[in-house]
Amino acid sequence: MTSLNTEVMEEGFDPEPGKPEPVKELAGRSPTRIAMGRLAHDKVAVICGTILFVMVLMALLAPVISNAFGLYHKIGPGQAALTDLLEFDGLPRVGPPLHPFTWDHPLGIEPGTGLDNLSLLLYGLRTSLFIAVLATLISTIVGVTFGLVAGYATGAVDAVMSFVIDFLLSFPFILGALALAPIITTRFGANSSTLGRAEFLTLVGVLVLFGWMGLARLIRGQVFSLREREFVLAARVIGVPTRQILFKELLPNLVAPIVVAISLALPGFVAAEAGLSFLGIGLSEGTSLGKTINAADGYYDKYPLYLWVPVGTIMVLVIALNLLGDSVRDAFDPKTRR
């Protein structure tokens, strides 16, 4: 809000100093706008952004696409009997690996269930993205709040909060997830109707529980350096309430690190969700890329399409998110040059 330093530095590092830039336009640009402008000129960012946009679009349209082509992503009414879809050993009767390509099922069908791989992929992507976005959102809110409070409070409060952060950071994630997930799902998922929801919330909960500390630490450090700045001191002197100082004075100055943290957390959560589902402590109901990869595990040379498409999708998704995250960080950090 009150900080203009980014903007000033931006001007100082203008790559084309000879170009006559009207001064008034410069005066009106916020750090975020500058960053967006830089992103738009970053080829990697544009490509990754486009890929992500397409993926999100496909995930959102999963039901539409599946219905339009009559593809099934879960066993249910209307689907043909498995004996009509699968051979005696569970391999598909149509499409790869034993039969030629067919447009009815462009990615083939799943051995053992006869479900359509394209539909599974789209719904899996939907689950992955939804869980990752939700986990990122919650862990950002928790992390930012925690960091702000800890950094601004100092003293005993900060010591306790830092200890909590350090404690959770030192706690092994996979072990914690392995121990916690079954307990929570058993407690709340006693019947099959609530099981799906319980598993979903548990998964998000576990991801958040072990995912917010990095950001909290970062924010706490930033708050330390901002706390003694003149505008904060001034606000304090004129009696602005603490909450207002935290969220109206400090927070806007932390947008850059938060955006960067979010863009790097997202791919982490996508990968973690797939990993947990692969390990069997994610979702047992519903579709997930990790689950598909787990099921396709043994088919790597027999039915490569079945395994490598979801693996490739996760890879592309995570790489695109990571590269975009890098670009975002570069865009927000005026000191980086590429």
């Binding site: 498995l82 005696f88 053992g112 043994g298």
Partner: protein
Amino acid sequence: MRLKQPIIAVTVAGLFALAACGGSDDGGSGTSEGNQEGEGAAQEGGNTGDAQDATRVDGPVEIEGATPGGTIKVISVAGLNTMHPSEAYYQNTSTILSGLVTRALTQYVYDEETKSMVLIPDLATDLGTPNEDFTEWKFELKPGIKYEDGTDVKAEDFIFSTAASMDRTQFPEGPAYSNDYLVSGDTYEGYFTAGKTLDGFEAVTVEGNTITYKARKPFPDMPYWLTFPAMSPMNETAAADPAAYARHPMATGPYKFGEYTPEKTLQLVRNDQWDTNTDPGRTQYPDSYEMDLQVESAQIDQLLLSDSGDAQTTLTYDDVLNENYRDFDASGRLVVGGFPLTSYWAPDYRKITDIKVRQALAWAYPYKDAYLSAGLIEGVTAIPGETLMPPGTSGRKEFSPLPDHEPGVTDPAAAKALLEEADAVGYEIKFLYAKDDPKLVKQKDVIVKALEEAGFKATPVPSTVADLSTVRADPDADINVRSPGWIADWPSGSSWFPPVIQSTNLDKEGLGSNYAAFNEPAIDQRIEDIQLLPVDEQPAAWGELDEEVMTEYFPLFVTRYGGVAQAHGSKINGHFVDNTIGQPTWKNLWVTQ
């Protein structure tokens, strides 16, 4: 008999190994479904045999063309639960012991002509002499039998091992037939729990080399019970510490324990005290056996399919994964056969009281789709059937308990018609499934779909692989259908009806293995009566009873019989299926040099 199943241990161990190295997507945990809840079955290998041959008393056994030497590697997903002879009651542990390590009074051998198992004497000179009503059996111990340390096997050792086999506190997982049939089995607590004393134990008496077993009720199947490792001789002093003995049971057979890491690896080396001339069943061709356990299914299949290096002398008693079945079949190194497993759905007789609803359920069940989704292969690892007693049980009768129903046929329309007749459309079926086994989750989806198509309301109740059998055994669980499997311990109806159909005292004993909670005093009485019939009339009577129970009461319906599809390397010979239990014929194995 229990299936080889310490799957839980495997899964958990797998997960923690991963956690320890911080990885999240290599290795694997979801591939242990190979053994859950019964594994499949093929007719091809012939029926489970009820053949006996009391004249095969002396060795040596020679296999034509077999050469000594070589090491056989055995790989499997499942660990070895416990190797204490008194407690070994899983498919893998009990057959490894009885096939290679521990001799008993009687034994099974494989007959290549009938592709079936034959019961022959082992340490005894014949198959025993019963008294008139089969409550007393006399066996004559062969002289000169030695343990691996050179000490003699004495007739008294059978007293000790029988006393130990009654110890349900020390050996909770062991077979309980000594308790069920023998004298003092219901009062004596077992050797260790009773305080290392034989006071109060009167089931076995010894006179010179003659061993006499006394039973409380007629026990015509005694020679079958004696094949179990639990009934093999154990020296009282050597086996004084059960935990230590479980790590190294004294061998009387051709192989003894070498290095052994419980659940993980076991090495068997030649036992030079074993005398081939006294053994009409076993051979000692390979130098040693190396068992490497808790290997992932996909890895086992890849190794055996590659058939290079060590893999040529490797075998597995796990079923090959369905997706690799064709490759193994083409390689000619696939071994298929049936074994006496019946998997069935048992509607709770107290809750689903209308026989029409139970019959509708049998019409609605998606037999073939359920096989496919669970990775079973119809006709190989899953054989459709309808009668409780699987093929090979003596006295088995072929009949259709459900009018016009062919094995393995699903007909939602017929189910709906029956439901309408019973005025029970929308009847709620609550059944358990293991949510942590992806294949079983898929199978659940298939079943739900089929039941709803037939007009039922399906409510699957999630459980886990680890908890499922406990919840299923709870008579008060909030479910109205249970889906167990039962493996016969010997090919007779007495191994089926008393445990599976006879009513139990629900408050005191729980369901036992009567998962339908079936309770008809008339049938209970019939079961009691048949066990008192002359032995040669019993098989037919069990067959009659099967038909009577299934057509009149329809307490359960069979989803499949079991079968196995195992594979071995190209240098392994003599790997057939022991169709009494679905394991390799350990006694016939040898390696091409």
